[in-house]
């Protein structure tokens, strides 16, 4: 059975969910998690799966945030990106004398991904070949990136072709930049996402015979300024993110080798009937999910739909108590082992000797301290 067929079987009889820059960025934050890698590669609807297994994800998006994000993007892109061009010209000093604007959302009414990608490819190749200072904006381009051996389609907000023969990725985000500063976590997330696009764009152009220099490592981040709706553009150097991303993507265990280890009959099919109701019993799903090993860390709570399931599974492990505890206790994996080593009732394995000595000292200090509640 090919890997494709394996993954189709794992997903079940529903259309696959797409990877996007956000999920790839999340993947790099916890690259050791085989469960997430398999589910994302197979295009499993994790949100629904988690809910059917009895652990609905804690996420949801507020319609206020969605409205705001869409309104901001529409404002920047209005009238053939007039606002954006002003920013690129004035704010960043990128000389764009003339501009053409290509919307690649559909190709002659057809929205199939293969067609859109082919069209993106030919247009970008033509722009790169012309070599002139063609100030071309590509809206809704469709790129492709190999993630864990699978081709994944990606849709950046915009690509601008600039002077000096370099493409720039433009990322629009609706979080505010206040006095030149924005929320660090959000900027970092945006930079990682931009890096995903830069990488995909470089891969595409490499196929046309262009070197990595054809795509700038500086992405243009467009955000509202201060407390207004007025956009402001900032160049964000994503070289560091690119390095991390490349390393993590190469480290991502190849999906086929992961899939080989799974039982052949494994499927997360929810048995959805015509009315859209899922019939698969939760206990059966739970058993199926558990055959794929996860690597839970509390940070998953912010990014993965399966987090409550995995957290429940990880109860009683040191990993569930946070990275600090896990790092501190190194080779000790469960809470009961921590306590056993601390009070000396458990004999440490060789690699646990150091942690055990630390724990015994800690237990003694807590015991000796009045009020320390040993």
């Amino acid at each position: 059975m090919t890997t494709e067929a394996r993954l189709d079987r794992i997903r079940g009889a529903v259309p696959p969910r797409n990877h996007n820059a956000r999920t790839i960025a999340a993947l790099t934050s916890n690259p050791g998690c085989a469960r997430r890698a398999i589910m994302d590669a197979a295009g499993v609807d994790k949100q629904r799966l988690a809910a059917c297994a009895g652990f609905p994800a804690p996420f949801g998006q507020s319609q206020f945030a969605i409205t705001r994000g869409n309104a901001f993007e529409a404002q920047v892109k209005a009238n053939g990106c007039a606002e954006l061009l002003r920013l690129l010209r004035e704010g960043l000093g990128l000389p764009i004398p003339e501009v053409s604007y290509d919307d690649l959302e559909e190709v002659a009414g057809n929205t199939s991904r293969e067609l859109r990608h082919a069209r993106t490819r030919s247009l970008l190749a033509r722009a790169a070949a012309s070599g002139a200072d063609a100030g071309t904006l590509f809206d809704h381009p469709l790129l492709r990136l190999a993630v864990a051996g699978q081709q994944v389609y990606l849709e950046p907000d915009l690509i601008a072709f600039q002077l000096h023969g370099q493409f720039h990725v433009v990322e629009m985000k609706s979080f505010a930049v206040i006095d030149g500063q924005a929320d660090g976590d959000k900027v970092a997330a945006a930079a990682t996402q931009s890096a995903v696009y830069v990488l995909a764009l470089r891969e595409l152009l490499a196929g046309e015979g262009y070197g990595p220099d054809s795509v700038s490592h500086e992405a243009v981040l467009v955000c509202p300024e201060n407390f207004s709706n007025a956009p402001v553009a900032t160049l964000v150097d994503v070289r560091k993110q690119l390095t991390v991303l490349r390393r993590q993507l190469s480290r991502l265990e190849r999906i086929d080798s992961l899939a080989e280890l799974l039982p052949p009959g494994l499927t997360f099919d929810l048995m959805i009937d015509e009315a859209g109701v899922a019939f698969r019993p939760a206990a059966e799903l739970t058993e199926a999910i558990r055959t794929v090993p996860a690597r839970y860390v509390p940070e998953c709570l912010a990014s993965c739909e399966m987090c409550y399931f995995c957290r429940d599974e990880a109860r009683g492990t040191t990993a569930a108590l946070g990275r600090d505890v896990r790092d501190d206790l190194g080779a000790v994996e469960t809470v009961s082992a921590v306590l056993g080593l601390a009070d000396g009732t458990l004999t440490p394995a060789d690699e646990q000797a150091e942690a055990a000595a630390m724990l015994q000292a800690a237990a003694r200090l807590r015991r000796e301290t009045p009020g320390g509640a040993a």
């Binding site: 206020f64 201060n226 108590l321 946070g322 306590l339 601390a342 800690a362 200090l365 807590r366 509640a373």
Partner: protein, 508 residues
């Protein structure tokens, strides 16, 4: 995080209730704190939706914005909040106390107490900072005029938010931070940011265990998020229709009033559970005995409050958008000093915090058998004879010891002179120089690591006329002290020039 805290977390899991990581309270809790729970509209930079605020558990006050995207309503909210917050803060300006300055200088006068604002979580502090930024530059005249109270609110909020960055300052506190400083829960620090879950671990309701209470606390219907972010489901299913109803109804109509009170009721229901949690948290903290140096740190807060009140009274300008280079360097310097002395003070106040340094070998237990006062060569000052009861506190070094000046009184006294310390079996006395204020030497060869793993200092063996004492590894330091100049500059150390300038000024 140390192994000590990791162990406490593991114990919390096993015992199904949070475990103490402090024996005393390290934060000041005002007799009359102002609890402030802000809510913001999702997706916007700083669009306040509502706030529940007040200094009495029984009488919360609710301020609601009926159309959060409307600029005028936003500033009407700020004005209403100013009426409560500025009134509370400025009431502390009236009562003053006189502090002797010593050495023939005039005694100075400062506010006898200072305001204390409590928000649920660190994101609440972020909200205060942003609201301060969006209001402090507003003008009460000309185009886009706002209520005169609005910029005053902005300046006080900015002051509080800036002060919250200072280690040990208690003018603006996040409840989750303050609680996590004293208890280790059986969940991760990420989950501790949920006030309801953290309190569930610390003080579960009758008939529930910590993990059960924490799990229940994650249901946004039972325990709505403590802000400023609201529950997305609440946004989509409750808030959005209500805001729209308010917008649809004409001004001044009965329909508008009904829509507005429905919105207020819905928002109030989101805030009320957190209001109760905040005061429960205050009660838990109050029940702990205060650490010995908490009051002195609060005096520092009172000084800062007095300075800012004076600045406002004198018509000084609002805080700038960005610090100038000099102001930034100065602030960094103060914050580093505050961090170093805060770490030392907490350790000296609390044996359980000191135990963290004993784990790493930065502090140890011994018996002081003799003390011989002498000059402190490194500071070039004649040593003052330290009070005897301070001698035996061997504290951790202040910020890896690069700032002798930041070491508080008692630890400073130890640097002076020579102590005879018996470590291990009684009678095996060693002479050493107590060395608070030396670069860290975690587990270096030959270090006296009596407390670290594998080394047993049996408390039963302490005897003789001496007292058990805690000192830095003294022996190894004796020769080193003479060789090392007082302040060793690093390649990157903005504080050094500042210290030199201060020294020169003093000399003049």
């Amino acid at each position: 995080m140390s192994t000590l805290t990791a162990l406490a977390r593991a114990q919390a899991v096993a015992r199904r209730i949070a475990q103490p990581v402090a024996t005393v309270r390290h934060v000041h809790v005002s007799d009359r704190p102002l609890v402030l729970i802000p809510l913001a509209l999702a997706g916007e930079a700083n669009a306040p939706l509502a706030a529940m605020v007040g200094d009495e558990p029984g009488s919360p006050r609710l301020v609601v914005v009926h159309q959060p995207r409307n600029r005028d309503q936003r500033f009407a909210f700020a004005a209403a909040l100013a009426g409560i917050v500025v009134g509370y803060v400025e009431a502390f300006r009236s009562a003053v106390e006189t502090i002797p300055s010593g050495q023939g200088r005039e005694p100075r006068v400062r506010c006898a107490d200072a305001p204390q604002v409590l928000v649920p979580n660190p994101a609440g502090i972020g909200f205060v900072r942003l609201l301060g930024r969006s209001t402090r530059f507003r003008r009460s005249y000309g185009e886009y005029a706002v209520d005169p109270a609005v910029p005053v609110l902005g300046r006080w909020l900015t002051f509080l938010a800036e002060r919250a960055e200072y280690p040990g300052s208690c003018l603006l506190l996040a409840a989750t931070d303050a609680l996590a400083l004293h208890w280790a829960s059986g969940q991760s620090p990420v989950e501790d940011l949920n006030l309801a879950a953290l309190l569930g671990w610390i003080d579960p309701p009758a008939g529930m265990t910590g993990p059960e209470a924490a799990a229940a606390a994650e249901d946004p219907v039972l325990w709505p998020p403590a802000g400023p972010v609201t529950d997305p489901t609440f946004d989509n299913e409750v808030l959005a229709p209500l805001i729209e109803a308010c917008a649809r109804a004409g001004d001044g109509t009965g329909a508008r009033r009904r829509a507005e009170s429905a919105l207020e009721a819905a928002v109030s229901a989101q805030l009320t559970p957190t209001w109760g949690l905040m005061w429960r948290g205050v009660g838990l903290l109050r029940a702990l005995p205060p650490g010995g140096r908490v009051a002195a740190r609060w005096d520092g807060d009172k000084d800062a409050f007095t300075r800012h009140a004076e600045h406002l009274r004198a018509g000084g300008p609002p805080q700038p958008r960005r610090d100038s280079a000099v102001a930034a360097a100065r602030r960094l310097d103060w914050m580093e000093r505050a961090l170093a002395s805060y770490a030392v003070q907490r350790a000296l106040d609390d044996p359980l915090v000191l135990a963290e340094y004993r784990m790493t070998g930065e502090a140890f237990v011994g018996i002081v058998t003799a003390a011989e006062p002498g000059p402190d060569r490194r500071l070039g000052q004649a040593a003052q004879a330290a009070p005897a009861d301070h001698r035996h506190h061997g504290g951790p070094s202040a910020g890896r010891g690069r700032r002798p000046a930041a070491v508080p009184g008692p630890a400073r006294a130890e640097r002076a002179g020579r102590l005879r310390v018996a470590i291990g079996p009684a009678g095996a006395g060693r002479t050493g120089r107590a060395a608070a204020g030396r670069p860290g030497r975690r587990g270096g060869p030959g270090a006296v690591r009596r407390d670290g793993p594998g080394a047993h200092a049996d408390p039963g063996q302490r005897s003789g006329g001496g007292r058990p004492g805690l000192l830095h590894d003294a022996v190894r330091l004796l020769p080193a002290v003479r060789d090392v100049p007082a302040a060793r500059g690093d390649a990157v150390d903005a504080r050094r020039p500042a210290a030199r300038v201060r020294a020169r000024r003093r000399g003049r």
